[in-house]
């Protein structure tokens, strides 16, 4: 069984890449939460920050799904395009919330 394991550990590296990306998203979500907790932050900025945290959860869900998929198969299939698009759109939506927080 272990003889035909991929010596390049590609699924493991891909799993860690998803983890790193989720971690980067965490930093952004924390920064968003910080700006909503500043003095003089109105309800709209609290809403935008809450939305950022919800988007972070959505990204976590996508990453978790992919990590489970990578672990389940011996030769994992390529990432389905809608999942990649969903991950990128989460990032875009966080940036849009960020624009609300900045303005």
């Amino acid at each position: 069984m272990s003889t035909d394991r991929d010596p390049g550990l590609q699924p493991e590296r891909t799993r860690l890449a998803w983890r790193r990306t989720t971690l980067s998203g965490t930093v952004v979500a924390v920064l968003a939460a910080k700006s909503a907790l500043q003095d003089g932050a109105g309800p709209s900025s609290v809403l935008a920050a809450a939305l950022c945290c919800a988007l972070w959860l959505a990204f976590l869900y996508i990453a978790h799904g992919r990590i489970t998929g990578l672990a389940a198969a011996h030769r994992p299939r390529a990432l389905p395009p809608p999942h990649a698009t969903a991950a990128a759109l989460c990032t875009v939506a966080v940036a849009v919330c960020g624009a609300f927080l900045v303005l």
Partner: protein, 130 residues
Amino acid sequence: MIEFVRNVRLWFVPGEVREEGRTPDYRFSLANERTFLAWLRTALALIGGGFAVDQFLPDLRGSWRVGLALALLASGVLCSLRAVNHWVRCERAMRRGEDLPASRFPALLGLVVAVVAVAMVVVVLVDWEG
């Protein structure tokens, strides 16, 4: 630009990329996925930079601060959209057995980051003087 719009269809349709050509070695697809994720992290870093400019440079004049933050956020959006597009193009090129698509985007982003960094140094120095 027309090519980009045509590719957008591929972003949302699960099976369409798989219909073409032959499935490449799964390791190539995973490498492409990691590149996509690296670009997504770059986008997140730019977005985080936008947040940081807004929060950690309170002394910067309002219009500069908002402008710079919005520019960083916009470049993050651009970077993440381009990440999916490039990922789909690479995936398709691998299935068709073509060369991987060349791109000017990394050079462009590098230049933009360099210009923004120099601008920040100037802004901070001018602020220091005055």
